[in-house]
Symmetry: C2
């Protein structure tokens, strides 16, 4: 069991910082109420964050009859963070202030023939350089960059163990990047990034237990349990896309049959469409984005083929999500990523219906199902929070070594 006092202290610090970002400016009293932590704990954590320059004192508010309360806010001048989303067809970088507001954005297109590690590394470096230059910030003030790449990631070593879409195996991505991106780097996958984004800024903030269902080319489920991202023992928790939905069903690209992803990932949805209407004008062979966007527009216009495809997809997705509701009994299920955003309310309505048909009554009645409320790229945002967490961890280590050295 590795959950130590230091982990708990770190979790409490994230928890307090999240609430400050949400409420800025706020008082220690309000934070204690919001987090359930004691005033003493909140005061200590706020003191540390002030000393690190992440917060700033911004004045006082009256309290009914009592002493005026000191107000604290995020120190937006305290540094910047970068989040990078390496996706199937693009590399996107965003620069954030410490309040997690987007300051600048840059995107590079990934051409189908240009998906080797050196080519992708060059594109990440270019996007990061553009975003830093574009915001006109001093590079020295960048506290770190979080890099998200689909696949199985070893966070400690910075190695991308396996990226199914591009068939990368054991690529030392952070090692390759460190030559051209001069900031502390943190590697993880978009599933964990999206879940962190919901925890810091979205539907999971302030909830006990949330499940983030990520619908893109691949499909996954991120878990925010007790206010913490559940990563699993080798950082690969969340591979929900390869849960069996139909025993001996459709072949999945993972080699198994009947996986959830084979029915509700973007290529699976294209297959749902092709099986129903092989000659549909909605079908853009070889182009997932165009097909899903065409489906999204057609379903809004009441096109019967599109309505049926979204209903079929929602039926499979809802049956699978009902399993998550029964299994984990979360407060909220968040539908995230581009397929969820594109198919939107019609997908959500179908999913709610199917979940209600399949889930058990008691956990069902405790669970809300929502579309992600995050208006920007949740992957960049989540990746930036990894850089923020890394900066906090480093500051603590520096502070500790100073204390040890007697400074």
């Amino acid at each position: 069991m590795k959950r130590t006092s230091r982990d708990i202290r770190t979790a409490n610090r994230y928890h307090v910082l999240r609430e400050i970002i949400a409420r800025s400016p706020t008082s220690r009293q309000e934070l204690a109420t919001a987090t359930g932590l004691s005033m003493a704990t909140v005061a200590t954590l706020v003191g540390e964050l002030l000393e690190l320059g992440m917060l700033t004192e911004v004045g006082f508010e009256d309290s009914a009859g009592g002493r005026p309360r000191g107000l604290i806010a995020v120190n937006v001048a305290g540094g910047t963070l970068i989040g990078v989303d390496i996706a199937e067809t693009y590399v996107r970088a965003e620069l954030f202030d410490l309040g997690l507001n987007v300051l600048a954005r840059a995107e590079e297109e990934v051409r189908p023939g240009a998906r080797t590690p050196p080519e992708v590394v060059a594109q990440v470096a270019a996007a990061v350089a553009r975003v830093v230059a574009g915001a006109g910030v001093d590079g020295a003030r960048v506290l770190g960059a979080g890099i998200s790449m689909p696949g199985q990631v070893d966070r400690e070593s910075g190695v991308l163990v396996y990226a199914p879409n591009w068939d990368w195996h054991d690529v030392p991505l952070l090692g390759l990047l460190s030559g051209s991106v001069p900031y502390p780097l943190h590697l993880d996958n978009p599933l964990h990034a999206c879940t962190a984004a919901e925890l810091w800024f979205g539907a999971a903030r302030g909830r006990d237990d949330a499940v983030v269902v990520n619908l893109g080319t691949g499909v996954g489920a991120g878990f925010a349990l007790g206010g913490t991202l559940h990563r699993g023992v080798s950082n690969s928790a969340g591979e929900w896309g390869h849960t069996t939905l139909v025993l001996d069903g459709r072949l999945c690209h993972c080699g198994d049959h009947g996986c959830v992803e084979a029915y509700v990932g973007a290529p699976g949805i294209m297959l749902n469409l092709r099986e129903l209407s092989p000659d549909s004008a909605l079908l853009h062979p070889g182009d997932q984005t165009a097909t899903i966007e065409a489906l999204g527009r057609a379903v809004a216009e009441g096109d019967p083929v599109a309505v049926t495809v979204v209903r079929t997809t929602a039926r499979c997705l809802g049956a699978a999500i009902a399993g998550l509701v029964n299994l984990l009994n979360p407060q909220v299920i968040v539908l995230s990523s581009w397929v969820a955003a594109t198919l939107g309310e019609p997908l959500l309505a179908g999913v709610r219906e199917a979940v209600a048909r399949h889930a058990l009554r008691r956990p069902l009645s405790a669970t809300e199902i929502v579309l992600s409320p995050i208006p920007t790229d949740p992957v960049c945002l989540g990746a930036a929070t990894f850089a923020l967490e890394g900066a906090l961890a480093r500051s603590t280590a520096v502070a500790k070594s100073r204390i040890t050295a007697g400074l």
Copy 2:
């Protein structure tokens, strides 16, 4: 988010007490190493447990060159705990000392016609009275009783919301029991009890994340994540039996189709046998226990029908467990409850094979799959740990009110 400093303190206290029970006698230094907590935290928690009479000082051990280290052990004379397992066909009560050793056991048979709440309450009261009398302990030393009953349980109110096997709805079980069982009572279900048993005494102790797969008449999956039982927001986490394994498959008693439980719960296994060999002598119509036991004996003797049935069952179970491996990336999956114990190694071997076929490589390589190592009824043991946790919580509350009152 409700994880407060007090929750963390409580979790740390359980963690320390678990390690003391495992290692008794032990030193504070050894506990700090085993738990990853600081010496100061361990010393404080041990001090509290000593004051509560749950531990006792038992001497010193030499430390290489340093001061002799104080040894502490569980105070077996500090009180007793009761665990009650209300099952389909029996009510079993066990009495434990504070080291969680069984001191006495009593069992009442539940006849098929005698499953109303008053009848079951009378049987629980009888079993508890027999176990206390049988051990010759002073009733005043019983610190509490944990009651496990299959179904959906509201712990705060002590209401059994829904028990599918007996079709009980909203039965105020603790209220009914409190008239005839004169101890502090704690209600939960066997899934949570088995998971707690693995955490306190079995394969999940000292592991980061464990999944306990419970195979009986019903089927469930308990989660011990970060050393804590994950209950879900309305205490119904773990309803894995009603995860869809085969879309539009076998009708399940829950009303849905294709649920895991319909293939690998005891009645599902009977159906697997009937489909393969309708006239098999192994089949005891209407008697799950006899059928599963006959299967267990026959598979050990290499009977081809039994081997095929266990293989079919393991194939379904493994496909479903692979989903849990991919989803949660745990360190260990524990097969628990009477069906797992009866079918034993042949089932385990088949499950391991099927999981390896269905799970993704990275999470698979991080996960061990084992049979529960708990030699006694894990439900009674787990229920007793709920009583132990309750006793600790009450003692803390009393200590706090004393401090508040200035005593």
